[in-house]
């Protein structure tokens, strides 16, 4: 309680006279360099990703001969890159909202004109013929024209529907089951809790794709072979460890006091889970749902192996089939199918982008 006299500590400035102006200009330079370096780096590393996708899209909308055409790619890049830079500049230079919108509008207008002139004439929708003409190969090349209808060619909408069904059902189950399990793991004390979490990690170390034959046998024995449901359940089991891990991280971050509050407000733990905790992990559910959906959407090995009687076309197999090169590939159509295949994932992804970034692992800080 007794304050001791603090030891002396001199505060006389030991530094020599400071040249504030040069410090300021150095700082200015450093700031600019930093920004330039960061953006240059990020642009440089992102181009290798953007470019192929962009190529896919340009081919899908421009290829005519069935042979990949790259001139259009470079021409459209010549439009798109300056446009992006323009948008950035507009965003950076604008001092207020009006200027911002004005800048955007100007850049956009120039972009539209330039695009129409440079790329427009090459664009067409012909490669998307597969959407309305299942036997598009015969139409495109009038090769097997006379035998049309002898055997159904796979219909892309059929494949699309199957894929949506598989991915959607799988997502619904994974999200439900993982939420339940992750909540329990995160918020209940029970014997074996730690070993449960450990086994989740261990499960992740199982090479699922090499277990296809045992799975095939097992599905057969329990009568789920050759059913969509069987495939979905296998996919679910495969995705569960990851989903539980991620969901658990989100549950860990939910404040305890609102759950406590719900309990004293008369909810059981189950009711509190549904009405109070679950809404707090919406972001987690979205993130997990997106990843799971993509996983189901792209699946092909399981679908191919476990569905033996049903018409089991999925988008992945359809994509395979379209690019089967024994008879020659039509790159335009393949790209168009690719674009079509990509669209649902992209839509989903754009809708959920900002939630995906909130994924963390476990409630561990630091």
């Amino acid at each position: 309680m007794v304050t001791q006299a603090a030891p002396a500590m001199t505060m006389a400035p030991s530094e020599p006279e400071i040249d504030w102006d040069s410090l300021a200009s150095r700082a200015r330079l450093a700031r600019r360099t930093r920004a330039v370096v960061l953006y240059a780096f990020l642009i440089a590393v992102s181009l290798p990703i953007i470019l192929p996708y962009f190529w896919l899209v340009t081919i899908a909308f421009s290829a005519r001969t069935g042979v990949a055409e790259t001139a259009v790619l470079w021409r459209s890049m010549a439009v798109v890159v300056p446009v992006i830079v323009g948008f950035w500049l507009a965003a950076a230079l604008a001092r207020n909202r009006r200027q911002l919108w004005f800048g955007f509008a100007a850049v956009a207008a120039v972009a539209v004109v330039a695009f129409a002139l440079l790329v427009g004439p090459d664009l067409h929708l012909g490669n998307f013929i597969f959407l309305w003409e299942p036997d598009f190969a015969s139409v495109v090349r009038s090769r097997v024209g006379e035998v049309k209808g002898a055997v159904q060619f796979p219909n892309v909408w059929h494949a699309f529907g199957n894929s949506i069904l598989i991915a959607g059902a799988q997502t619904a189950i994974v999200v439900t089951v993982a939420s339940l399990a992750a909540y329990y793991l995160s918020r209940f004390q029970f014997p074996g809790r730690s070993s449960m979490l450990r086994s989740l990690l261990v499960l992740h170390a199982f090479p699922v794709l090499t277990l296809i034959v045992p799975m095939f046998l097992m599905l057969y024995w329990i009568g789920l072979l050759d059913t969509l449901f069987g495939v979905i359940l296998v996919l679910v089991a495969f995705e569960l460890p990851f989903a539980i891990f991620i969901m658990k991280g989100f549950f860990d971050a939910v404040p305890w006091d609102i759950e406590m509050s719900a309990l004293t407000d008369g909810a059981s733990r189950r009711q509190a889970f549904v009405s109070v905790v679950l809404p707090q992990v919406r972001n987690g559910i979205l993130a997990v749902a997106v990843f799971t959906f993509i996983r189901g959407w792209e699946e092909y090995i399981f679908v191919f192996t476990f569905l033996i009687r049903n018409s089991n076309w999925t988008m992945s197999l359809y994509m395979y089939w379209v690019r089967d090169d024994v008879m020659g590939v039509d790159y335009g159509v393949v790209s168009a199918v690719g674009v079509f295949y990509l669209v649902p994932s992209l839509i989903l992804y754009m809708a959920a982008q900002r939630y995906l970034m909130q994924m963390s692992v476990g409630g561990v800080k630091g």
């Binding site: 001969t65 069935g66 042979v67 190969a137 090349r141 009038s142 090769r143 097997v144 006379e146 035998v147 002898a150 055997v151 159904q152 060619f153 796979p154 034959v213 095939f216 046998l217 057969y220 072979l225 050759d226 191919f304 192996t305 033996i308 009687r309 018409s311 089991n312 076309w313 197999l317 395979y320 089939w321 089967d324 090169d325 024994v326 008879m327 020659g328 590939v329 790159y331």
Partner: protein, 426 residues
């Protein structure tokens, strides 16, 4: 009236939609016949589409499906796989039925039947055939200094055993050196039958005629791999042939950037004409393009062509074997088979088809049929599919410089002996 549903397992294959399509059509004919006979039965064909990529994947999947007793009544397969099914008793022996229905099967080329045989009998019905060859670009050869006489005589010289595998490399080398063409010889970039021609040329038949077991002869293997090795060394076969896209290879050849292209006759109808605009007129075509069968290894040796028939097979446990046979018999009718042949540039199975004007009009078919004389099949051994995978890996190893020819032969023998059963090594 009683409807019999017969399931047909068919790979969804753009190169031959009528393989299944003809069976569907055949049902109508069979039903009329049954009606005429006064039989109460009617047949309905249910096609089980398989999305497998390639006949090998398809066969493995189908074997599993048979393994659990869920097999179809009939299926379409590449001929070399039938003994794998026969071995486990999945497929129906057909000798008696074939004898019973000469109206359907009597005229099928006898040589094709051998592709449908396993050691103890016939287990399949040939559906089509084709011919594999070395296509070549006459313009490039001319540019490289070969005269028309030489060029035009190449097919005959090959047939007579005068033109050898090594000469092909030589010609290709001249082309690569003297013209702006980049490649000499190109071949398929995945597992398949064509390159087996080269192995055949060097005396590899892969089956021991006495036991029917797989046979590997180290020296002959090494010799065949040696051809590929030399090709790469001479700059004629690209070291990355197996890494290229199928279509890219075709493009190189059909746009005049390669001297030879080792592939099959249907490539004309499916790619060369429609995609690259090669002249469809016979004369115009042969002015600038040509083909030879697989040449002999040495002068005076025998040339080879390879055909790779696709076959119809009937499951051993089908409830209606009789109907299935009759159904496939109708599906093998000359007119239906010709539909398939002319639309996909495959060879027919019966001499009657040669008279069909449509068939005659499709001159590549007529011309390729000539090769049937010297044609060989892949061995109908249950394990050949797997062996072929190993051989393909060997080629990849040799071409990419990872193995020497000798090492490749050793590799094939070692892999095959450990992975396969009853392999005879010499």
């Amino acid at each position: 009236q009683e409807t019999v549903k017969l399931e047909l397992w068919s790979r969804q294959d753009p190169s031959g939609p009528l393989r299944a399509g003809n069976v569907v059509k055949a049902a109508e004919r069979l039903n009329k016949e049954l009606e005429a006979e006064g039989s109460p039965k009617r047949v309905e064909v249910v096609v089980r589409e398989s999305p497998a990529k390639g006949f090998d994947d398809d066969a493995l999947q189908l074997l599993k499906v048979f393994g659990i007793g869920e097999g179809p009544d009939m299926f379409i397969a590449a001929h070399e796989w039938i003994c794998a099914f026969q071995e486990d008793g999945f497929v129906l022996k057909l000798d008696d039925y074939i004898a019973k229905y000469p109206q359907h099967f009597g005229t099928i080329f006898p040589s094709l039947w051998s592709s449908a045989k396993c050691p103890d009998g016939t287990y399949a019905i040939p559906q089509d055939a084709e011919a594999r060859m070395f296509f070549y670009n006459k313009q490039l050869l001319r540019e490289a200094g070969y005269d028309d006489a030489f060029i035009d005589s190449m097919p005959e010289r090959t047939l007579s055993g005068d033109l050898t595998m090594d000469e092909v490399l030589d010609i290709a080398k001249q082309v690569v050196e003297k013209t702006k063409a980049q490649y000499g010889v190109l071949h398929r970039p995945n597992k398949g039958p064509d390159y087996i021609m080269a192995f055949n040329a060097y005396g590899n038949d892969f089956v021991d005629p006495k036991t029917g077991n797989l046979l590997l002869e180290r020296d002959k293997l090494a010799a065949a791999f040696g051809w590929f090795e030399r090709g790469v060394k001479e700059g004629v076969i690209p070291a990355n042939n197996t890494a290229m896209e199928f279509d890219a290879l075709r493009k190189e050849f059909y746009t005049g950037n390669a001297a030879f292209w080792m592939y099959g006759i249907w490539d004309l109808g499916s790619v060369a004409f429609p995609t690259y605009g090669l002249p469809q007129d016979e004369e115009a075509f042969f002015k600038d393009w040509g083909w030879i069968p697989g040449p002999a290894a040495e002068k005076g040796g025998s040339p080879v062509s390879l055909t790779h028939p696709i076959v119809y097979v009937i499951a051993a446990d089908t409830k209606e074997p009789e109907l299935a046979v009759r159904l496939l018999g109708h599906a093998s009718a000359a007119d239906l088979n010709t539909d398939h042949a002319v639309t996909t540039t495959h060879l027919g199975i019966k001499p009657e088809q040669l008279e069909d004007p449509r068939y005659a009009e499709a001159w590549p078919l007529a011309r390729a049929t000539e090769l049937l004389k010297i044609t060989k099949f892949l061995p109908n051994n249950a394990q050949f599919g797997e062996l072929n995978g190993i051989i393909y890996a060997g080629i990849q190893g040799v071409e990419s410089g990872r193995l020497s020819a000798q090492e490749a032969a050793d590799f094939v023998i070692e892999e095959a002996s450990s992975a396969l059963e009853d392999v005879i090594v010499k």
